[in-house]
Every structure is written in C-alpha cells, then in structure tokens.
Symmetry: C2
Subunit: 412 residues, 2 copies
C-alpha cells in the first residue's frame, strides 16, 4: 500500500486542514523532565475526585441502568434547566432550556454553530491573536477567517468596523465574529464594556452572528464581572458557548451553547449526525454536582488557586525578565502573553528553551495572518511553583543572553 493512498479523494477542507500547532508542541514536550508552561490544561490537583466518586456511586444506586442508556440529542432536560437558571442569574434573562444544548465541550458548541451558520467563503472575524478552535471550526466549513487586532481592551471594534465595511463593499459575505470576551486565550485580555456594547451594535448593523466563546469567564480573580455579549444583545444573534473544562473537569467533555431557540434547534439537528447525544453519566454527574452546590464552591476554590499561581508567575517574570520584555496582568483565566524584543523570534527561543527542558507556546500559532513572531503564551494553570520559577528563570536568561549578544555585536 502506498503512503496515503486516498489523498486524491480527500475533501477540500481535509486537504487544507492543519493540525493544531499547540497539540504538536504538547506532544514535543510530553517528556517528564520538561517544565512546561505550554498547555492550557487545568491543574488536576483541583479536580473534585472524592465528590465525583461519591456522586457516581449515588447515581448508580438511584438511576440504575438508565444512567448508561442513550440520552436525547439536546441533552438531559433537568441539566438544561439548571444551566438555564444559572445563566438567568448571570444576567441572561431570556435563556430557557429550549434555547440551550449540552455539548461535548465548548469545542463542539463552536463546531455545531459553524455547521449551522457558515457556508463556503463566508467571512468570520477573529482576534489577532486568538485561540485556534474558532478559526478551525470556520475553516472546517471552508469559511474565511480574517484577523482583527486585539489590544488591552480586547478585540478592536473600530478595526472590525472598517474591515466589515471594506469586505462587504467588495462583495464578500461577512457572516460573523468569533470572540473570547473574558481573559482571552492567548492574550489574557478582557473585552471592555464599551467595546462589548459597540460590538453588539456593530453586529446588528452588519447583520453578523457573534460566536461568544467564554470558557474562562467564571474564573475572575479581581474586578467586577462584565455583562456577556449575549446579555447585551437584543436581536438573538449571539451564540454563547460555555465549557465545564476549566471550572469542573475537562475529561468528562462537557459544555453547552445558548442562543436563539431556532438556531439551537438547528444545532441539535446537526448534533444528531455529529455524535447523536452527549455522554449520559457525565451529564448526571454534573447535574448532581451543581445541585449539591459544589460547582459554585469549586469555582471559588479555583479562583483562589489560579489567582495565587498567576501572582507567583508575575513575580517571577518581574524578577527574571529584562526590561525589554513586556506582558499584561490578566484579571482571570490561565494565560499571560509576552512580547519579546522585535529582533527575536519566539520559535528560536522555544528551541533553546526545550533544550533546557522548558516549554511554552509560541504566539505565532495564534495569529491567523502569520504575524506575532516575537510573542509567546505562558500558562500558569498546570505547572507547580517550582516549575514556574525554573521555567521563567531559564526563559529570562535566554532572552538576556540574546540581548547581551546583540550589544556585543553592535559594539563590534
């Protein structure tokens, strides 16, 4: 059999598909001796093992075999009720169980939303930089992804307005915006309230769908929570995507999407042929975890835990990084984004770091236009204090060494 004998039969999207750069980096740095600030995975030290074990036992006694039967495609009715109630409390008054679908993680929510809304060549705006899940889902439908700069207030809505107007004038079908409003991956920045209002207004004017991906919003360390785009929207054009991976556990693959009930019904139809239904016991476990008040407790614990890790990493960065390096202070979530001097390439730094058993993610993989060569994403989520100190020191030393070399060369 020749290598890849079926390539000539692949779909257009398969021929263009790129595996996620981060997964490749994670594979590269899977060696146990590597101190990694790469992955955006939560720290398993915080997983509520005992509670899950106790709940699972109770559920088997209570539900018996029903716990392992197929569920409905839209998800467990009681769980959708409980989640809808949580969202109402969170300012999204119009959410009810019928405008909510349980998904295998928020990744599936975005995937189904793309299936419902994106046609070939439809344009979707994304942050420069952004997490690649949104662009990946859009590209799996042969949609076009256009990058919009992200600054300290999040996605630059003025740039978005100009681009939308320009592209529409040139005849493009401008369809939507993929945005991570809170503690964005990879930059850690939060979309300001003013920008949120502007974005919702802009979406109405240009008839856009907003894909609001919010896996980190509940992990706010400080400052007041800002209203979601969904709560500011009055025209039903926000598909709000949520994940339990960062607030509960990722391995149960739970998330949900909420939006206009017609659109959610379409996502349910798409899910029938995508994987038929979400894992049944996982949904019951989550339902019980919420009912016992444990999710709120877990979120409060996680906030304390990750805040202290953020603070520790910021301290180490102050201590070891030279003045030529800049970064932000995220108010929540998992990530700090770093600018190294413009004459440095983060890919070179990555190779040098891996040689010293330290890993991070180069920023470039988050820029759909291929820019960002001098940026990197650091995650404090998974590494312990010792590893964080070690990794930041090594990265700092490598940058300092580069600056020294430059000085020497300039002097020569």
């Amino acid at each position: 059999m020749s290598p890849d004998p079926l390539t000539h039969l692949y779909s257009r999207e398969a021929l263009c598909a790129q595996p996620s750069a981060i997964r490749d980096i994670c594979a590269l740095v899977a060696k146990p001796e590597v101190r990694s600030l790469a992955g955006g995975w939560p720290d398993p030290a915080k997983f509520p093992l005992k509670a899950i074990r106790r709940i699972f036992d109770k559920l088997i006694t209570q539900h018996g075999a029903r716990l392992f039967q197929y569920g409905s495609t839209e998800g467990l009715a009681e769980l959708r009720e409980v989640l809808a109630d949580r969202m109402k409390t969170g300012g999204m008054a119009d959410v009810d169980p019928d405008s909510l679908i349980i998904t295998h993680g928020s990744a599936q929510g975005m995937h189904l939303a793309a299936q419902v809304f994106i046609d070939r060549e439809d344009v979707v705006f994304v942050g420069l930089p952004t997490y690649f899940g949104g662009p990946g889902a859009v590209r799996s439908r042969s949609g076009k992804v256009i990058g919009i700069p992200v600054d300290d207030d999040g996605l630059n809505v003025d740039s978005l307005r100009l681009e939308a107007t320009r592209l529409k004038a040139s005849g493009k079908r401008v369809k939507g915006v993929y945005v991570i409003p809170n503690f964005q991956n990879p930059t850690g920045v939060t979309l300001s309230l003013e920008r949120r209002r502007q974005l919702v207004r802009l979406a109405e004017i240009h008839d856009l769908v907003i894909f609001e991906d919010d896996p980190y919003g509940e992990l706010r360390f400080e400052g007041d929570p800002l209203p979601s785009l969904k709560s500011l929207d009055r025209s039903g054009r926000v598909i709000h995507l949520r994940s339990l991976s960062k607030t509960f556990v990722p391995g149960l693959r739970l998330g949900w999407a909420a939006g206009d009930s017609g659109a959610i019904r379409q996502m349910v139809v798409a899910k029938q042929f995508a994987d038929a239904a979400t894992n049944t016991p996982a949904q019951y476990i989550l339902l019980e975890f919420i009912r016992q008040g444990l999710l709120d407790k877990q979120i409060q614990d996680n906030i304390k835990f990750y805040r202290s890790k953020r603070d520790f990493m910021l301290e180490q960065m102050e201590r070891y990084f030279p003045d030529e390096v800049t970064w932000n202070r995220p108010q929540g979530g998992f990530f700090i984004f770093v600018q190294i001097p413009g004459d440095m390439d983060a890919a070179d730094l990555f190779r040098q770091a891996v040689a010293k058993n330290v890993a991070f993610v180069t920023g470039q993989s988050f820029f759909v236009d291929g820019s960002g060569h001098n940026t990197l994403r650091l995650s404090y989520a998974q590494a312990g204090h010792q590893d964080i100190e070690f990794a930041i020191r090594k990265i700092g030393n490598l940058i300092k060494a580069h600056l020294m070399d430059r000085k020497t060369n300039n002097a020569a």
Copy 2:
C-alpha cells in the same frame, strides 16, 4: 424577537437539514403506557452496572485525577492497542493503533469520515432502505445520497455498478458507498460473502471509499461470521466504523474507526475542531472492561439474550400476522423488517397503533428516495416479552381489520 430571527443567516446545509424521523417518533411514543418496538436502543437490563461501578472505583484509586484530565484527540493509546488487537483477531491484520481513532460513538466516526472525504455534490451510495446516520453525515457536507436496492443478500452490487457507471458518465463525482454489512438497520439483512467481494472490487474499479458501518456485527445469533469489507480490501479504501453502544453501553458514547493511517490522521485533525477529545473516564472504563475479559463475556450474554427475544418476536409474528404480511429472519442485531400489503400505508397503521398504545417505526423514513410506504421496522431489542406479544397482536389485528375491510369493500 421574531421567530427564528437568524434563518436568513443559516448555512445551505442547515436550511436543508431534516431532523431524524425516528427521534421524532421516539418523542411521540415516550409516554410510559406505550409498548414500543420503535427505538433501536439496547435493553438496559443487560447493562453491566456492577462491573462498571467496581471498575470506576478501582480506576479512581489507581489513576486519581489523571482520570479526568483531557485526553489526546486520537484516544487513549492503550485502548487503541487493545482494540487494534481485537481487530487483528477478527481478520483485519493491517490494523494498528495508528490506524485507529476513538470516537464519541460510531455516529462520530461517520461524521469525521464525511468531513475528510465528502465535498459538495459528491455522490455516496446508500441502501434502500438504510439507517439515516450515513445519509445525514453525507448531507451535512452537501453531498448527494443515491439509494441502491437492498435484497435478501444485502446491498445489490449489480445495481450499484450500473448506477456508478451511469453517474460517472454523466460527469458526477462518485465518491463512496455507505454500507451496514451485518444485520443491517433497518432490514436485518446481511451482505453475502460474494457481494462483499464484488463490492470491494467495484470500489477499486470506480475509486470509491467504502464507509463500513458495523455496530451489530458482534451480535451474531447463528451462522458463521463473514469477513468484513475492511479485511477483504487491499487498497486501504475502507473506513471501518464500530460502536460499543450495542455490545457494552450506549450512554458512554464510545466507538472507533479504523482505516488507512493517512485518512485516520485526517479524521484526528477533524476531531480536534469537532470536540477536541473523547471522554477520558469512559475510555479507561472500557479499557479495563476489555482487559478483565468482560467485553467478550458481555457480548456472549447479549447474543443469547437478543437471540431469545428475536425468536420470541418471530413466534408472535407467525401467530398474529396474516399471510399477506412478509418479513425476514435476521441472523443477528436488533431488527425485523416487515412488508404489509401494498395498498396499506404504514403511516396510517402507525397512527392506528399509537391510538392503541403501540409503536414501531415506519419504513419510509429509511428510504432516501421516499419509497417504502408499506414497510415497517420492528425492534425486539428494548421491549420485554409481554410488550412484544401485546404490540405484535395489536399490529396484527389492525392489519387483519384492514384486509377484512378491503374484502368487504371489494364484495360490495
């Protein structure tokens, strides 16, 4: 907010998507007083509850938090090894862990395969009738589904040859065949060995991908197992889809796909953006269940159990159905397919049956060309003996009443 305010923004596929008729029927007959032969769900009485509870407990002790962390997109390495070994024993010598992906049920396997292989307007052949999962996945990519008659030996390969030649001559991109070779849903028929050989040969000649969906193959009640299409193929063009829903439990949403390693790699890339990874504890539970030899035992138990249910239902059909009704004797799986007199409409019969608290699935929903008005699918999988007897008697009486009416009308 107007009803469905976003319809004008839906994708072409969303605008064409039809919810599964069976799910609608299942919703209709969800009342507890209804004796249902409708759903193709397994009987929860056979779910290995105690073993799952014991294994889960052991796994938490053994793996701790790791059990709930993200897994890799392709699935747990040890599980892929164990499944590849099982397939080798089953005559598929060239399967190794790298040519295998764990999926959220076989539905997801077909969905990912469609993503990799189907472009807009690509033609995929399916059985007349067939389970709607294959057609649904193809249509979600705007592929074209063409029905090929199914007879007692399964998909009619001669018809397929003629259609493939005709469509190619007219300039269509003929891309693949979706086939359920064992105890097909809904007909219960098995593709004969000769047809299997012909189909694999035909696929080579016409450069087709074979989507071999085999959720029931291990539930063979009698007769020798036939070689899979994958084991007969020498050119790597079979994507072999498997499910644990009928042999283990459906609620854990586990399945796998095996095929050419290049194509499987593409399916892994597609899965990154579809749902990132399969449920971690579900995979570990299955791995342990197999390692303890329990899956083989479970399958043997299921075979005995469903064989006796099939026999019981066939007896009741002999007893209560008039001579004008015909059906087959499936050698395995869950389904018996019934032809009622040609002047009857199964949809009318269905409405009359539901009025008597009896349900089944009308055959028409399985015919992509809209034919099959006088057919129905009966499942013995979920109903108990009492319900089976009751339902078959009522259906038989309704058909007899129709025949009496006809006689009276003809005489008048």
